[in-house]
């Protein structure tokens, strides 16, 4: 990709630029801002962790993870792979159905598919236990089975469910940017629908599928909220980290184990990077194209619809459980109607609700901007250094939440000094400026950035650089080009980035456990407390409220984004 852009630029400019495109001042400014942001968000906290991880005690933990405790490591990898495969597959099917099949109620299905991502991590797990546990309403009540959902099956189910929407949004975004004439060409050349699907459609969205797999794999191995609730005796690295920190305050051991967790995450990332770079396909050319024609062949539509409808049925059941659970005393045990759970929230949680909303509204746009800036630099301007930036940003999701949060606590509870000069006041903890809210917002940004970053990168790669070069040669500077030309072409990546940043902020839990303060309470940590205490009803009610809030915010931001696009178009 990168070499293509430099070659095409050098064609219409003087020969001296063969080594690469000249970087205008705005590129350098953006780069500087991004680097500072990344140092603050991920550089310092990760550095502190590396320091702790390679201390004597941390090294012992690393060694143990590969020797006596190798099972835990294997468990994590298996879980990540399975979540990646299942989630990407289901995400692909749902995205395909949304794009290529015409049927009534499509928009409803779209939102149902997205539901899991906007719920806090514990919510789905608790609902799954209620439905499919040993005494679950469905498994035991209806089918009279005695299943054990705790362990790998439950984890796989809940994690696949939580993260499938990421793959769905990512792949759907890419579908929408495809040139429909390619499919017409395929069918008029006599390709069967299945053949088209496998040899035309899938290769075109392979970058999105691979980046989805990456995100899902990493989320799968890094998630620790669900293993705590539904993990059974399936030990994973993430929960080991939690037990080390929360139990013994043993930062060094935790940091050591998290370095072990980083290894597979980074490996997959590098593999994906290498692979997609070779296979990327330019499909957005800026030439006029028509709308995608719906696929009608039943041989393809029926199985695809079946998979996606079954999936949606499962999701809908679980979220219905969640909703109902908030209104009855103890779902499945004592099903009498009650308001007590919402009463509880109103008494105890209204503070947390307001604070969480406010922090999300600050963090989400910033996270999306950061993602855009990184993607822009990586794909368009920094062919060599770009990979490093990309990787750096991805640490936001590759570093397990607990560990990132701990890194933040370590770095930002004291003022930051450079050569004896205080450059930053303490940002985390109860004594910090803003009651510790700044550190929480920073975590939100760090966690919200990677998915947006991946989808922006995929989108940039799909857009032929000549489109932008045309604007540049007409005198637009790079930033204007992005704003006026590139962004409107990848509106669906914008939606992915903003959506994910919002939902990540609203639902992040493990990363903020160590930095919530008396002044700044966060909804998810309140929910965690309720799950912990076994008050599923309160947790259900809280989660339903959170989901409704996220839906409202997403709805508004979607409308705004659409408005924005229309005014440009």
């Amino acid at each position: 990709m990168s070499s293509a852009s430099s070659v095409s630029i050098s064609k219409n400019k003087s020969k001296g630029r063969r080594r690469g495109p000249r970087k205008s001042l705005s590129v350098w400014i953006v780069l500087a801002i991004v680097v500072v942001a990344l140092i603050l968000l991920l550089g310092l906290p990760v550095f502190k962790l590396l320091q702790a991880g390679f201390s004597a005690q941390g090294r012992v933990a690393i060694k143990q993870s590969f020797t006596t405790d190798i099972d835990t490591f294997v468990h994590s990898i298996v879980l990540g792979l399975l979540v990646g495969v299942f989630g990407t597959f289901i995400g692909f099917v749902c995205a395909w159905v949304q794009t290529f099949v015409k049927f009534p109620g499509k928009k409803v299905l779209h939102w149902v598919t997205l539901l899991p991502t906007i719920s806090p991590p514990f919510a789905a797990a608790t609902a799954i236990i209620t439905l499919f546990g040993k005494r679950g309403i469905i498994t035991n009540g209806l089918l009279h089975l005695e299943t054990n959902i705790y362990g790998l099956p439950g984890l796989l189910m809940v994690l696949t469910m939580t993260f499938t929407p990421v793959a769905y949004l990512n792949i759907k975004g890419m579908f929408e940017n495809l040139d429909p004439s390619l499919f017409e060409a395929a069918s008029s050349l006599g390709s069967s629908p299945w053949h088209t699907l496998i040899h035309v459609t899938i290769p075109m969205v392979l970058p999105a599928m691979l980046s989805s797999f990456l995100v899902l794999f990493v989320e799968g191995i890094a998630d620790l909220a669900n293993p705590l609730v539904i993990g059974g005796d399936y030990r994973v690295l993430a929960s080991q980290i939690y037990f080390a920190v929360a139990g013994s305050g043993d930062v060094a051991t935790a940091a050591g184990i998290s370095l072990v967790l980083l290894l597979p995450a980074l490996t997959v990332f590098l593999i994906q990077k290498y692979w997609t770079d070779k296979k990327s396909v330019v499909t957005v050319t800026g030439k006029p194209t028509g709308a995608i024609k719906p696929v009608k062949s039943p041989t393809v539509v029926v199985p695809m619809m079946l998979v996606s409808l079954l999936w949606l049925l499962l999701v809908a059941t679980i979220y219905l459980t969640l909703l109902v659970g908030g209104f009855v005393k103890i779902l499945g045990v004592d099903n009498t109607w009650t308001w007590e759970h919402f009463d509880f929230i109103q008494r105890l949680g209204s503070d947390a609700v307001a604070t969480t909303l406010l922090m999300t509204l600050v963090a989400a746009p910033l996270a999306a901007l950061l993602a855009l800036a990184i993607a822009w630099l990586v794909v368009r301007h920094l062919p060599r250094f770009g990979g490093v930036l990309d990787l750096w940003g991805m640490l936001g999701v590759a570093v397990p939440g607990t560990v990132l949060g701990l890194g933040f606590a370590l770095v930002y509870s004291q003022p930051i000094t450079v050569f004896g000069v205080d450059i930053l006041p303490p940002l985390a903890g109860g004594l910090a400026v803003g009651g510790g809210a700044i550190a929480i917002v920073m975590v939100f940004i760090a966690r919200g950035d990677p998915t947006g970053q991946q989808s922006f990168i995929a989108a940039f790669k799909q857009i032929n650089p000549e489109v932008e070069e045309a604007a540049v040669s007409l005198g637009a500077d790079p930033l204007t080009t992005v704003r006026k030309v590139t962004l409107p072409l990848m509106s669906s990546a914008v939606v992915t980035a903003v959506t994910y940043a919002i939902t990540k902020s609203m639902t992040t839990i493990t990363a903020i456990i160590f930095i919530t303060t008396p002044q700044t309470k966060v909804m998810t940590s309140q929910i965690l407390d309720e799950v912990d205490a076994g008050r599923f009803g309160n947790a259900f009610a809280y989660s339903s409220l959170l989901i409704v809030l996220v839906l409202i915010i997403l709805g508004i931001s979607n409308l705004l984004l659409r408005q924005l696009n229309r005014s440009k178009g």
């Binding site: 006596t68 005796d233 037990f243 809210a437 700044i438």
Partner: protein, 350 residues
């Protein structure tokens, strides 16, 4: 040189302002202060308890009271990273407060409100004072027991029955005090032999469905029938029963069981030390202790004059093992390490 420093300051200023501006709205809420000042509480109890207590204290004294609910282990981690963040630590086993004392994070304070307390419920040096107490019990589901043709367990050995395979709930010793208390109890029952205790839990491992992060999780799992028996606090089991899990029953091991004393302590780097002491005095007083039942909380108040709520398990009738707070605190690390390396990863028993 001065140019360099100036540039640094400039960058700092710009980035600082850029970040502060959006956050101004957030920080504003905490700036309102009344004359009585404020106090910040690390609360290791259940959310509703923390809320009820801090609110009542605030109402009575006019002192603005904020709290974060954190497990004892989490508090210890936070005290290490953010000294001065909290003024007073309320809740969590006294052992944890002793560990904090060892690290020099606690200021000794002998509250006059505790002068009539039994010696079991306060530290002679004043590092901690207990404001509630409860014991380890077996919290079982009657219908699950019936299905397995078992009686409610009355001995630690009853839990080892092969019929209970994957049917026991046990809190993780690293994060939940009860899990670790159970380990220490076993050691006491074996004349202080720590390895014997580890062996017991190795035998129990195949029967454990999940080591839960929190103490109360097991009671809910039993209430739902996901497990048959949970090792839990009697107060938590009672709380679950009152919350609607009416199928649960509390029993105690006949060999004797461990108990916890939930403690309060004044933190050394407190910014509002006087208010921290006021809070300590208040929560140990009869008036505050009489509030427990209304929360509702089913831990027994430690103040001999406090009225004990109707459904609170009677702690005087529980057969307890001889508890050495100091020893229990000292062996915590050994137990948690042994648990991680030998018990939860052990496969031989399966």
């Amino acid at each position: 040189m001065s140019n360099y420093k100036l540039a640094l300051r400039l960058i700092a200023g710009i980035s600082g302002v850029a970040m502060l501006v959006p956050m101004a709205a957030c920080g504003g809420s905490s700036s309102a202060k009344s004359n009585a000042g404020s106090v910040s509480v690390a609360c290791s109890q259940q959310e509703d308890f923390c809320q009820a207590m801090t609110r009542a204290f605030s109402k009575e004294t006019g002192i603005k009271t904020t709290y974060v609910r954190l497990g004892a282990g989490e508090v210890l981690a936070r005290l290490a990273t953010n000294p001065g963040e909290f003024d007073v630590w309320a809740g969590g086993q006294a052992e944890n407060h002793l560990l904090a004392q060892d690290k020099g994070w606690i200021e000794n304070y002998k509250s006059s409100a505790a002068s009539n307390y039994p010696t079991d419920y306060k530290d002679p040096s004043g590092s901690w004072t207990g404001f509630y107490t409860d014991s380890i019990a077996f919290c079982s589901s009657k219908s699950e027991l019936k299905k397995k043709n078992l009686k409610a367990p009355t001995s630690w050995n009853d839990l080892l029955s092969p019929t209970l395979k994957k049917s026991v709930g046990m809190p993780h010793p690293a994060t939940a005090g009860v899990g670790y208390m159970a380990m220490y109890t076993q050691a006491v029952l074996h004349n202080g032999d720590e390895q014997q205790s580890v062996n017991y839990f190795k035998q129990l491992n195949p029967n454990v469905m999940q080591y839960s992060k929190s103490a109360a999780t097991g009671t809910e799992q039993a209430g739902r029938g996901e497990v048959t028996v949970a090792i839990a606090l009697d107060s938590d089991c009672e709380k679950a029963i009152q919350a609607g899990y009416s199928d649960l029953v509390t029993t105690y091991p006949k060999e004797g069981t461990g108990y916890e004393v939930g403690a309060v302590s004044v933190l050394k780097n407190a910014h509002n030390k006087d208010n921290a002491k006021k809070f300590t005095d208040w929560i140990l007083g009869t008036k505050a202790q009489n509030l427990y039942a209304g929360v509702p909380s089913f831990a027994a108040p430690t103040n001999p004059k406090a009225t004990i709520g109707k459904n609170v398990p009677n702690q005087n009738k529980v057969k307890k093992v001889k508890w050495d707070m100091r020893k229990a605190a000292d062996s915590r690390d050994t137990f948690i390490k042994a648990f991680e390396s030998e018990v939860s990863s052990s496969k031989d028993a399966k």
